[in-house]
């Protein structure tokens, strides 16, 4: 009899949980995509080795994913999982980074205290694509860098994974020098655009300055002569 009663109580408990869940599920479902798919806590993974080729591979995961102003979390589904967010609003928690947040994560910039990221922390810290974090930098601060580990880079010598930044936008070089004089840029471009690779004339445009992440590990590592 006790066994039957216990089973009955387990069944009832599960049914009550179902009823409670049914009542409260719409509340959580109405939150943004990131609320259900991203991590909002946790530090980056400090690393000593980070190459430009690793940054390119990292950025590639975000290609064709969404753009979200102030955001910083994406998966690898090749689509914006929450398209049509209101522009320049962070609170809807859509998919994707904005241009500066995407650069922060791709460059493996460090933020020891994610609740209060500081400018100019040295070191390398990789972030999971699904870690929702923007970092402390804006496009303008990449254009006028606060110091190490971000520095000005002459535009004529900028190469893969260096960046071109204006007061309002930043994109990183995916491939330098097409035959038509452009660079192939990877960038979190706009809400309706998503994160794109495309040819852009930023190198020659006066509105853009060159920026580099300092301290890349040489590509030849660990076999450098």
């Amino acid at each position: 009899v006790r066994t039957n009663q216990f089973i009955r109580e387990v069944v009832v408990g599960a049914l009550l949980a179902l009823v409670v869940g049914t009542v409260f599920l719409p509340v959580s479902a109405s939150a943004g995509w990131a609320d259900n798919n991203c991590s909002f806590s946790g530090n980056g993974n400090d690393v000593s080795i980070y190459k430009r080729s690793q940054a390119i591979a990292y950025a590639d995961v975000a290609w064709k994913e969404g753009y979200h102003w102030g955001g910083g979390c994406w998966n690898d589904s090749d689509t914006d999982n929450q398209a049509g967010d209101p522009v320049q609003t962070e609170s809807t928690h859509g998919e994707g980074g904005d241009c500066s947040g995407f650069t922060f994560k791709t460059w493996a910039l460090k933020c020891s205290d994610p609740a209060n990221c500081l400018y100019g922390e040295n070191g390398k810290s990789t972030w999971s694509a699904i870690r929702y974090i923007h970092g402390p930098y804006t496009a303008s601060s990449f254009k006028n860098p606060p110091g190490s580990p971000i520095a000005d880079e002459p535009k004529s010598t900028a190469l893969q994974m260096d960046a071109f930044a204006s007061d309002t936008h930043i994109g990183m070089i995916y491939t330098a020098n097409t035959s038509q004089g452009h660079d192939r840029i990877i960038e979190a471009k706009c809400e309706g655009c998503g994160t794109t690779k495309s040819i852009q004339p930023y190198r020659g445009q006066s509105a853009y300055e060159g920026a580099e992440r300092t301290g890349w590990t040489p590509e030849c590592h660990p076999n450098c002569v």
Binding site: R8, E9, V10, V12, A14, L16, A17, V20, G21, S28, N36, N37, R52, S53, I56, A57, Y58, V61, K64, W69, N75, D76, S77, D78, T79, Q88, D98, C99, S128, I130, T138, P154, K155, S156, T168, H169, Y174, T175, T178, S179, Q180, G181, R184, A188, K189, C190, C193, G194, T196, K197, S198, I199, Q200, G204, Q205, S206, A207, E209, E219, C220
Partner: protein, 454 residues
């Protein structure tokens, strides 16, 4: 429900178990993101070429570099990529050269035989996952090509001071906004500032403006009077080109899972300000198309990563699917900025009188992008190209150069850029069907469509 609500079965332990189940489910839901990172099926490989395009005959050998990006399903795992370059001189046999990827790319040294051209394609294989790709995708069936041409001297451009620009012959203006006769703007704030992406002009001087932020194409007569607006649902990036029969093509650069961007062929309705009479949509052959071009009724796109021209639907029509030069009325027109950014090169290697022109930028300047190249009606070319400097102050403008068939500079003037908002990467300028040069000029007030008689 009656059973559940029966007093006898709702015990304290039942309620406690319900709370426990709910808490466990909530913790699992919050702590386990539902979508995994990475591609479970293999590595991601992206290859891009820096095509030589034109090589001086008798050079002995040339280096062909490729950028190769590779990412593994687990991002920390290293890629192990083996690349094979297949190359073949005209009338010769395919030869293979093998390189292992070490870092950002691979470089191949290709010996130059006494030949008119060399075809080539690359295969890349990530050996851990078995991921394989061929670049271009058609391989030996439609490979890349570089041409061998005789050496020529370079023409030096005169220096035009920044700020010294030619004024347009006519202009009409559109304020930013959604109303008819206005143009849509997506303001930049940690994002690109995006305005109208492209224009094209028919033989009567009617201007078709791709106002994609407002989901429409607006048509203005030569005096700037709005005569038509064709509503369409469009992404924010693209290009527009007229077909010459009243219809037009729109490149719609919106990411789609597993699909390249698309081109819409739009036939306007006979009634102005009405939805199109018909729209047919096809996928482009490129991941990153940048420019549309209609030549002899065939639609072409230029884009990356191929850095070449590909016909849209070319296979079904039996056309050459990949071409290194721009299709034009004088045949394949090679256009190139040298990686040094100091030399601009044009060539028509397949025409009966093969041309090769080299132009050098003045000292202290560098070439930016080739914004426009079109044959003129006298065997020469119109070129619009950005020149820029970084020191002592950052400056740039576009220069218009008319070159004769033997490379002499016939006309040369500068235009101020007006790039408050981004246009399509290669669509800020068009040579209109009426023979005039048109420019999309933007500032914080709106758009100006500028016309230059050339």
């Amino acid at each position: 429900l009656n059973f559940v609500l029966t007093k006898k079965v709702i015990t304290k332990r039942g309620v406690g178990l319900a709370i426990s189940f709910s808490l466990i489910a909530a913790v699992l839901a919050l702590s386990t993101p539902q979508i995994a990172e990475g591609d479970p099926e293999g590595a991601h490989i992206d290859v891009a070429a820096s095509h030589p395009l034109v090589v001086t005959a008798g050079s002995g050998a040339i280096t062909v570099p490729f950028s190769v990006a590779c990412g593994m399903p687990v991002i920390e795992d290293p890629c192990d990529v083996r690349t094979v370059l297949h190359y073949k001189p005209a009338g010769g046999r395919w030869t293979e050269a093998i390189r292992l990827l070490d870092g950002l790319g691979v470089r191949f040294h290709v010996p130059l035989a006494d030949t008119l051209y060399v075809d080539y394609y690359l295969e890349a294989t990530e050996r851990t996952t078995g991921t394989h790709m061929t670049f271009p995708s058609q391989g030996s069936t439609a490979p890349f090509r570089f041409y061998l041409l005789p050496s020529v001297g370079s023409t030096q451009l005169d220096l035009i001071p920044f700020g010294e620009s030619r004024q347009p012959n006519s202009t009409f203006s559109l304020a930013w906004g959604p109303a008819p006769g206005q143009a849509g703007l997506l303001p930049g704030n940690e994002s690109s500032t995006i305005g109208p992406q492209a224009l094209d002009v028919d033989s009567q001087g009617n201007i078709y403006l791709l106002d994609q932020i407002n989901d429409r194409v607006q048509v203005f007569d030569p005096n700037g009077v709005l005569v038509n607006a064709i509503p369409m649902e469009l992404g924010p990036l693209g290009d527009l080109v007229l077909r010459g029969d009243g219809s037009f093509y729109i490149l719609d650069f919106v990411p789609r899972p597993g699909s390249h961007p698309v081109v819409h062929h739009v036939t306007p309705a006979s009634t102005p300000f009405a939805p199109p009479a018909s729209v047919s949509t096809v996928e482009t052959p490129e991941w990153e198309p940048a420019l549309l071009r209609v030549e002899r009724d065939v639609l072409w796109t230029y884009g990356t990563p191929s850095d070449a021209w590909q016909s849209v639907g070319g296979w079904s029509e039996g056309l050459a699917a990949v071409q290194m030069g721009m299709p034009s009325m004088v045949g394949e027109l090679i256009r190139r900025i040298d990686p040094s950014r100091q030399v601009l090169e044009l060539a028509t290697p397949n025409s009966p009188q093969a041309q090769r022109i080299r132009v050098r930028v003045p000292d202290g300047r560098l070439f930016g992008e080739l914004a426009l190249v079109e044959p003129d009606d006298a065997g020469g070319f119109w070129v619009v190209v950005r020149t820029w400097q970084e020191t002592p102050t950052r400056s740039d403008h576009h220069e218009v150069v008319r070159l004769s068939s033997d490379g002499r500079v016939l006309e040369h003037f500068a235009l101020s850029n007006g790039e408050f908002a981004d246009t399509g990467s290669m669509s800020q300028y068009r040579l209109g069907g009426d023979g005039d040069l048109y420019q999309i000029f933007t500032d914080d007030q709106g758009v100006q469509v500028r016309r230059f008689e050339i």
